[in-house]
């Protein structure tokens, strides 16, 4: 049995927005006018205008000027698909999902339990309609191929049953275009030898088909006779996982390409972990204009499911394999050579269990609050437009931010990252200070520069600058910011005695850099402690505080002292 949801994306949109019902709805792209992209689905109301799936949006707009163009919302489609598959699950233990809206069910041997297949199909169609509101077309036959042809014959809400033994006679009168695997090029070739229907094709002797199309010709002939031995195969462990995205406009900025690729890889990593698999190979796919697609891969020394290790390999590929000057049309990231998750832990890198835990926590956060709630500082959030998915990712709906007194705490007390998309971008600056108090001897040692670990003040400065840039990796709910300036000054203070630290951080962003300035001071102070602790074990880090901030909604503020 083949089941296919009718105009799935468009139907989901019509279901959740009643005002769209009965109107020509065209789903595709991100919803911005004039963008590149293709029609992902068109409602039955739009089809008389000639709008079809995979047609460029611009063409659809010309054909159907009154159509309502809706951006893709895969999140909603996945949710809807999930509820339909939950119903399918009760009708057969053997289900092969083809996409979000299409699946094969094996009903073999269930007649005694469920009744005749035609009845099962009717019940299934009605149950899906009442429970999810979506229309389903069903084809029932003894093999997958004929079932698929049958389900597509009377869309929408079609139910076609082909009895065993009637496969060939069912297919015979249909035009060639109905036969899966018989595309326009094949059809033209066949028409030249006088073949117009599937029946004509079935009548051709195998040797002739072999001559015309090689090995493939024989398979085509068998299909035309309604013979298809392929079994309904439930999805096993994936052989590879990948995500790719086509840019709205070709991108020449290597930084953006990198960020996008790393963002995609983060999705891949999440899916990998959801499958409890590890990957040995990281794959980078890149398409330059016009049709020059390259695929590069790197093999890791041992399989991993950790974001940072996968990202390291991908970064290396990006650095060594991508022509820096060429505009990029499409970028994809993926993993292959998958194995059951067995991550070799590292002896020397004591962070490894904690980094794995970080991945797990990030996955959990994204699972609970939606994918955009948190991502690594280096990865661009992967907006859903045009992202092709190759598995049925299943995630819960994002929690809506509500006003609470503590902005980083949600209504039920869970931590969350504040959505700042709506805030205006402005020039920001933040200043912070702190000090490290130590023994006179330690201060003198630092000033003389004869500590075993080397020059303290310079190292502390660099540590502060580095830490400011990584604040979002350290502080869970902190947004990643592209800082435009960071400076850290460490001044020895003999009166303290110790070292005074001050930081300045600037950025052009939607949110302030106070956390970055404070982090810079903290990291510089810790570096001083680390480097000088052999001289003075009991140093104190004191008074880390914000001095001033500029820019943003609350304007310029100075510490009231």
């Amino acid at each position: 049995m083949h089941v296919d949801l009718d105009a799935f994306y468009a139907s989901v949109e019509q279901l959740r927005r009643p005002e769209l019902r009965g109107k020509p709805v065209i789903v595709g792209g991100a919803g911005t006018p004039g963008e590149r992209g293709v029609v992902a689905a068109a409602s039955y109301e739009a089809r008389p205008f000639g709008v079809r799936s995979a047609m460029p949006l611009s063409r659809a707009r010309r054909l159907c000027p009154n159509g309502i163009f809706v951006p893709c919302d895969f999140h909603a489609y996945r949710e809807a698909s999930k509820s339909v598959f939950a119903i399918l699950d009760r009708y057969s233990p053997i289900i092969e999902p083809i996409s979000l809206d299409e699946a094969y069910l094996d009903l073999t041997g269930q007649e005694a339990l469920m009744g005749p297949p035609a009845g099962v199909a009717t019940r299934l169609r009605d149950e899906v309609k009442t429970r999810s509101g979506l229309d389903l077309s069903i084809g029932v036959a003894s093999c997958k191929l004929v079932a698929k042809v049958a389900s597509e014959l009377r869309k929408p809400r079609g139910l076609v049953v082909v009895r065993p033994g009637e496969e060939a006679s069912f297919l015979a009168p249909l035009p060639l275009s109905r036969l899966p695997g018989c595309g326009p090029a094949t059809a033209v070739k066949l028409e030249r030898v006088g073949v117009r229907t599937i029946g004509d094709l079935a009548a051709l002797p195998d040797p002739l088909l072999g001559e015309l199309f090689g090995q493939y010709g024989r398979a085509l002939g068998a299909h035309a006779r309604g013979l298809d031995a392929s079994p309904v195969t439930p999805p096993g462990d994936p052989k590879s996982i990948s995500r790719e995205v086509t840019f709205d406009r070709d991108v020449s900025d290597a930084g953006k390409v990198r960020e996008t690729a790393l963002g995609l890889l983060q999705d891949v990593g999440q899916s990998l972990r959801a499958h409890r698999l590890s990957a040995r190979t990281v794959v980078l796919k890149i398409r330059y204009q016009p049709f020059d697609t390259q695929s590069r891969q790197a093999t890791l020394p041992y399989p991993t499911d950790r974001d940072d290790q996968l990202a390291g390999a991908l970064r290396h590929l990006l650095e060594t394999q991508v022509a820096p000057s060429r505009p990029v049309r499409l970028i994809g990231a993926g993993v292959s050579n998958l194995e059951a998750c067995a991550t070799q832990l590292s002896l020397l890198e004591s962070r490894s269990p904690r980094l794995a835990m970080l991945d797990a926590q990030l996955d959990q956060l994204r699972g609970r609050f939606g994918e955009h709630v948190i991502s690594r500082g280096t990865a661009a959030p992967t907006h859903q437009k045009d992202v092709r998915r190759d598995d049925l990712g299943r995630r819960v709906k994002a929690a809506k931010p509500k006003t609470a007194k503590l902005t980083h705490i949600g209504p039920s007390g869970e931590a969350r990252m504040v959505d700042i998309s709506a805030k205006p971008v402005s020039n920001r600056e933040a200043r912070a200070r702190g000090s490290v108090k130590m023994s006179q001897a330690a201060l003198e040692a630092i000033l003389r520069g004869n500590l075993p670990k080397g020059e303290v003040i310079g190292t502390a400065r660099i540590a502060g600058i580095q830490a400011a840039k990584r604040t979002s990796e350290l502080i869970p709910m902190c947004h990643p910011l592209a800082l435009t300036m960071v400076d850290v000054v460490c001044r020895p203070d003999r009166a303290l005695p110790g070292i005074q630290i001050e930081s300045v951080v600037r950025c052009v962003a939607r949110t302030g850099a106070e956390m970055e300035a404070l982090t810079a001071v903290a990291a510089a102070a810790l570096t001083i402690v680390d480097m000088a602790k052999s001289v003075d074990r009991w140093m104190t880090i004191e008074d880390i505080e914000l001095l001033a901030k500029r820019g943003g909604k609350s304007g310029d503020l100075r510490r009231p002292d």
Binding site: R276, E339, A340, C341, A342, Q344, L345, L347, L348, P353
Partner: protein
């Protein structure tokens, strides 16, 4: 140059020094072996610039001289030759080496020895005397843990710490660590630490047959070379620069589960079980429960093997997974009748020690799997 040797002794010498001939080189002369006459016989030298090996074989020298000839051809010719006298003569004009015996009259084209990179025959620096058998053990028990990943060169070496009358060898590839201590007779001086390429040590251990007198080791004063001298053979190696990680901090101080088993039994069982993990990253699971030790490996598309090993288990129950290769490596060379494995949990390093000896330890980092 004109010498007479027996094919047998020349063949043995060639097999020893040709270990230093590099197989992939951009410098053609490094494919060659240098032959030079000395007071005592014929000296054979080969180098790949990282290590150099030299051996003098007994020979009757009628005329002094030297030449370099392709190692492969010379070695193949001489080792296949019956153990009979060979007369070797250099034709200086054509730079070709004639090898004559009862049956064969061969000549090999050579390259002028002036182009051969110098391989020093001695080194200024601190000298240490070691027992060859103990050194062989120390090398074999540590090089297994050295890394083969050139991305982090320092881990491709064995860290050697000389302190007083003791030498500590340590090697790690980031997933396992081997540490061995042995006694030495060293010139007085401060503690020395060097990192010797694992390959150089493997070659040295291959040369050491046991039964030799003490080996003299010289650590170059510049700390960039080390020189080993046995009665017949000299081996020179460059040292690896860089800071060796502080391996001591990963050695677990105690364990919450200890397993004691017969080495041979555990090795055999691990081998049998790991046949079923070849396609699953060699992962093998250890389960110590209710006083029983069970080893399991399974690969979804291959099958599985479960085995019980006779062992004494003390402490908490435990499930832990390893790369079986790491375990097989150590069990094959640990050299004690019984081994003790100590753990503090499935994600923490496991400690393996020979029972009854205190001079060796091996640490394996587990594999994180869904149990």
């Amino acid at each position: 140059m004109k010498v007479t040797v027996t094919a047998g002794s020349l063949g043995q010498g060639l097999q020893v020094v040709s270990r230093a001939v590099s197989s992939r080189t951009t410098l053609p002369i490094l494919n060659n072996i240098l032959l030079q006459t000395t007071d005592t016989g014929l000296q054979l030298t080969a180098t790949n610039l990282e290590i150099g090996i030299r051996q003098v074989i007994p020979a009757e020298v009628a005329e002094e001289g030297g030449i370099t000839v392709p190692a492969r051809l010379l070695t193949d010719f001489v080792t296949s030759h019956p153990d009979e006298p060979l007369s070797i003569t250099l034709d200086k004009k054509t730079q070709s080496l004639a090898l004559k015996s009862n049956r064969f009259d061969a000549s090999i084209r050579g390259i002028d020895p002036a182009d051969f990179p110098p391989v020093p025959s001695g080194l200024e620096g601190r000298k240490v005397k070691v027992d060859p058998a103990e050194l062989k053990d120390a090398i074999e028990q540590t090089v297994i843990a050295a890394s083969s990943d050139e991305g982090r060169p320092v881990l491709t070496g064995v860290y050697v710490h000389l302190n007083g009358g003791k030498a500590t060898f340590a090697a790690t590839d980031g997933h396992r660590l081997a540490v061995k201590t042995m006694a030495v007779q060293a010139d007085p001086g401060e503690g020395d630490t060097i990192v010797i390429p694992a390959r150089a040590l493997s070659e040295l251990s291959r040369i050491l047959k046991g039964g030799e007198d003490g080996i003299e080791v010289t650590v170059g004063a510049q700390k960039n070379q080390v020189f080993f001298k046995t009665r017949d053979v000299e081996l020179m190696s460059r040292l690896i620069e860089g800071t060796y990680p502080n391996y001591q901090q990963v050695i677990p101080a105690q364990s919450t589960t200890t397993i004691t088993a017969k080495t041979a039994d555990l090795l055999f069982t691990t081998k049998m079980v790991s046949l079923f993990s070849k396609d699953a990253a060699n992962v093998i699971k250890f389960k110590a429960e209710g006083g029983k030790l069970t080893l399991t490996a399974n690969t979804s598309e291959v099958g599985q093997n479960i085995a019980e090993v006779e062992a004494k288990i003390e402490g908490q129950d435990l499930q832990v997974a390893f790369n079986s290769k790491y375990l097989l490596d150590v069990l094959a060379i640990i050299g004690s009748e019984e081994v003790q494995l100590g753990f503090t949990g499935p994600l923490n390093p496991g400690l393996i020690k020979p029972v009854g000896k205190d001079n060796y330890l091996y640490i394996i980092m587990p594999v994180r799997v869904a149990m």
